[in-house]
Symmetry: none
DNA sequence: AGTGATCGTCACAAACTTGTCATAAATTCA
DNA sequence: TGAATTTATGACAAGTTTGTGACGATCACT
């Protein structure tokens, strides 16, 4: 899955390096700059998923960067987390009013910053924050009712969607036809076991893609499983 | 304009009263309860726009309330701000991981809480904060009650307007007819599910534009969603 | 009271899904 | 190899879900 891209605007080299390291460990793609103007340039070109912005930076001030990010259409809706020195409550209020989404006062723990950034990412980009399931090259966003394979959106019927969802929630495991009927159709359904075969075929057809292998594995005399391909 | 509705779960009467007063002055509709179970009950019935939740409360604990709010479909996406005692960083991490959106440690200034709540409201319910929402080529200015698409002003009936507003506040997500009835018509409305179809058609008709695709997606056996086109 | 807009419901048409079957293909094992 | 078992596939009719036009009721405003 695509990494969320972070722009870190921080002119304390030690802190910048520490945060860069920690965020990279959390699977973020981090870009660092100490300079406000450079930050604006990069932000409008590359549209990061989130900006972490120190209030006191060289060149254009933090609040001015914040304001300009909001004014530029390309970055108007990118979440911003601001960092400032302790005790500057007025700064905080102004920051939030200028359009920042969150605010931390130094010194803060990297864990806290990471937790806050993750909370924002979860809300803004659910697909990037684990509200979607990924198995191999398949990605399912159950909320949006969308399935993607290698970037292409797949069209599945309702039953195939539920079937795939169940498989993706238990990747690699083999399920008998009876188990699949119980899980996907409901315990009280009165349906031929063989019908599962048909829906497996429909699922295979629905997720097939030029040059991509079939992730649905038939286990003879046992059932079916979804493999991470 | 409708006031944003806040649910404040706080068992310190002095703090609760202070916050209630301050938020009312900021034009929020505030409901206060010291009890976790009562909070859950009210939240699932009335679906507040945001929940402020003290970690240490009587009855069900704060984190448990948070978890249950997330689990209940009706409240799964309501933002939560948690309050806790100073120095409990682990609590903070757990809170944010459980699904809270923001976190403050006591003592905090009411101004700070208000600023943070406003920042969240601005992001997730722009319409309530007096800003305009944009989804794809659609723009809605809820205050002026105007919708534009690629520059043209659209004429929508009241219900279609509310329906579109709800969709635009949750772009991409699929909602069942029942959910749409609850959200747009009100929880206590006693209306045929199929009536939603009719209003979806009226909405589609209202926003259709020469050469522009239909952003309303039908998800068979699930409901409807608004796509960013 | 009169006008026009909006609302909820219905009935029917259109579009799509679904479960089953018959048959073909694949696999197992003696 | 050949028979037996198991799975894959195409077709189809029944069933379900959604789209649409029409209609009377209601409401706001004149």
């Amino acid at each position: 899955m695509k990494q969320p891209r972070l722009l870190l605007v921080e002119d304390d080299p030690a802190l910048a390096e520490l945060l860069e390291f920690r965020f990279k460990a959390e699977n973020y793609d981090v870009r660092v700059t100490p300079d406000g103007d450079e930050a604006l340039l990069w932000a409008s070109e590359e549209a990061p998923d989130l900006v972490i912005l120190d209030w006191m930076i060289e060149g254009t001030s933090g609040i001015e960067v914040c304001r300009r990010l909001r004014r530029d259409k390309a970055t108007a809706h990118v979440p911003i987390v601001m960092l400032t020195a302790r005790g500057a409550e007025d700064d905080m209020i102004r920051g939030l009013e200028t359009g920042a989404d969150d605010y931390l006062t130094k010194p803060f723990s990297p864990r806290e910053l990471i937790a806050r950034v993750s909370a924002i990412m979860r809300r803004i980009r659910p697909a990037l924050a684990g509200e979607s399931i990924t198995v191999g090259d398949l990605t399912m966003d159950a909320t949006a009712h969308k399935v993607t394979r290698r970037g292409s959106i797949l069209a599945l019927g309702p039953t195939e969607f539920r079937l795939l969802k169940f498989f993706m929630e238990h990747p690699g495991r083999v399920f008998s036809r009876g188990q699949l009927l119980d899980a996907v159709w409901g315990t009280d359904s009165d349906i031929e076991l063989r019908t599962v075969d048909v829906h497996i075929r429909r699922l295979r057809k629905g997720i097939e893609l030029e040059g991509a292998p079939d992730p649905v594995r038939t286990v003879r005399s046992a059932g079916y499983a979804l493999e991470a391909v």
